[in-house]
Assembly symmetry: C2
Homo-oligomer: 477 residues x 2
Amino acid sequence: MEVTSGNFDETLPLIREALDECTFWAFDTEFTGLSLSGKPTDSLDTMEERYEKHVLGAKNFLVIQVGLSTFRLERNKWVSKTFNFYVFPSTVKGQDKRFTCQASSISFLASHGFDFNKFIHHGIPFLPLQTVEKLLAQTELQRQRDPIVITSEVDRKFVAELKDRVGAWWLHAEDDDRLLLPPCNSYQRAVSYQVLEEMQLLLAGQSGILVEKVEAEGGKVQLQVVRTHIEAVQAAKAREKQQKRMELIRSTGFSQVFRMLKTCRKPGVGHNCLLDLMYCVEQFDQPLPATWQECRQVVAEAFKAGIYDTSHMARSAQFADLFKGSSALEHVYSTMLEAERLAPVEHAEGFPLYRSAEGSRAHEAGYDAFMTGTAFAKLLAHLAASGVPELCKEDEDEEHLVPQGPLISTDAAAGFKDRINVHGSDVPYAALRGVQPHPERSHVLCLTQLPLRTPWSAIREKCVAAGVQVARLCAKR
Amino acid sequence: MEVTSGNFDETLPLIREALDECTFWAFDTEFTGLSLSGKPTDSLDTMEERYEKHVLGAKNFLVIQVGLSTFRLERNKWVSKTFNFYVFPSTVKGQDKRFTCQASSISFLASHGFDFNKFIHHGIPFLPLQTVEKLLAQTELQRQRDPIVITSEVDRKFVAELKDRVGAWWLHAEDDDRLLLPPCNSYQRAVSYQVLEEMQLLLAGQSGILVEKVEAEGGKVQLQVVRTHIEAVQAAKAREKQQKRMELIRSTGFSQVFRMLKTCRKPGVGHNCLLDLMYCVEQFDQPLPATWQECRQVVAEAFKAGIYDTSHMARSAQFADLFKGSSALEHVYSTMLEAERLAPVEHAEGFPLYRSAEGSRAHEAGYDAFMTGTAFAKLLAHLAASGVPELCKEDEDEEHLVPQGPLISTDAAAGFKDRINVHGSDVPYAALRGVQPHPERSHVLCLTQLPLRTPWSAIREKCVAAGVQVARLCAKR
């Protein structure tokens, strides 16, 4: 299901339902860049160094498409609901995000048919959850702000006139009578609100003053006071407060989906998803912390049921025979599709988007999320079938092996929980929980203090002359 | 005429012709942002401060569309040729530009129908002129680089074998005979070129060695030597050198158009074009210098025949009655269209793009360039008609006032030469030549050392209490 700003609100309940009923969810994102100029990743980065480079990326690049695919085991098959979201930063209320694009990333997306016009015209707006929480707290504070102290003669006169005018009107007013106040500037308007609030407190009886904004000719704003029943005044104030809260929560936009992922307490799956996780946390939740140690706590806390990475799984010794060295998503997906007798995956009713995709939609976030989840479901079954056969039984037609219960809790699957692939690196994995492993680098020689622009060939020559066999040379920045 | 990567090469001669024959040219650009976060322009910026903020913008944002409209006076009418270019940074040969987008700017363009897919799929690539000149110089240098010194035993053996193999073949080879060398790595390939070059020098007679790259199975490169006539060897080398030069010059892409604007020595016109000028210099010519003093020299040097700004003209005292305070491009354009009896502007044959535009294409760079040039042509005639009537004479039908010769050289027009509007500022104009004027600010009071987050209202109160009438408060960052 394609989700844009046009159908986002009506789709939210469907997303909530899909997450509530699913066994696990898979996700993928498309973004505007991988690395900033002069900050390329390096195969010899430590985990902390790699993290710092990715943080720079997360703070500058933009997630522009998010795919979410939920998977539910129904008798002898998996049923999937896939959503493909376009997101674009909101420009209302003074928001005006700057984001960086990397030409090669943008070209790559374009070559896979990404629709940039749809992204900009119809992207779902978003504000990070933490920002909205802060704004909500501020709104509360604003109600309790310090009173304006009137000091100038001009303003004293303005206040006196206002009191006279409203006081005189009040004497003869009946409920529902209105008084339009003269135009004034925004400072005087703030003063007026305060004065009318004070007058309100002094009024006895069953009636009160309701203050309304009225748009006059030329777009200027005037205030109007209405005499009305005291309960109506209070109800109007409560309504206004609630309206402001709802408006703020609505401005969270797509981040509401991120909140659902956090609160649904179902396992999540990505494919080579370290960047996806980091970019999403920064954009939809909260600013990424300074270190990987802190970040992994944030992510583990957000996704308590664990995150699995099918790229890390495909690279593991258990699957070495199956994938023969390539862990690319399309390869893993098509290999698992061909694997015999694993329970099939079907698109749920009402989710026809990728029913006839056949690879042409690869690199669209929704389709990649669907491929990732499908691969995960089948990898789990494969693990169980080869390890603990009683966990996968043949169905009635003896055609498919059907998982018997939640395979995720098997020992074999648990070995992959919260371990994320680190791309182009010998760091075994990024550990969201437990010990962060470090790579074995006793065979790596670090040459320092080389003259600027020393050619590779000169280094290679010197190494060979010194009897050192060079498998690979790379720069460490 | 819309110009993309698909028809750019074939359009270049048309652009050159249009510039050669024109009286003046007008331009406009669309870009991805106006100001970086935390660096908004300020109405009290000095010219140097404003420049520094715009430089940050120019180094981060991207020009994505350029409009060029040439105007030629033909008897009793102006004939215009308008080009609308999409540009997108090249991603070949390791180039991978990062650029920033400002959400509000992108949304603004989208709301005016900008086609982002076309920009990314079919944008004309570009490299700054200065970068290409440096690359050309480097290519020359590479030919004269230091020879590789062989030190290791392995490499000595490789060289000896190569010499033996080629030497043995040469003894019995005839012209056009070929010898395929064994596969080797890129370092050994560089060594091979050097060894074969040395062998070449030792060969007597009318024949020489031509070295060719051959793609072997699996995409690997092997070298092949060909015995051929010595003149053919030299011709092949000259051809290769010329090919590399041409390839580099072609990679200049859209910047070739910028070079034409510089070398055509015709007056240029923009509308509120300070940012357009700066962004174009940075993107297509050379990095902007540190100060406005230096920048204006660069721009004046680039455009020797002068730059005019129709926004600055429309704001001047001469036109105060005509435009009544608004200098927006569409307003200036439509006002001048309605002005009676000024020579009409027509689109040249073969340039039908905006023939039936009627305002719907506003904010497309090509159309804005056309509106700017049209307004300029009519502003010039208006100036002449009201100042020196003999410069504008009635045509045969007594219908239109037709300029008699180049109105740009009149005194009235000269007063606008090289004066660019500074948007939202009291700086009278940005002077490309002569004295840079400073605004009169004796009525501006600068409050310093205010406590953080002092509310506007408190400042206003204090000012009024001190007897200072406040027309406007603004922050200075």
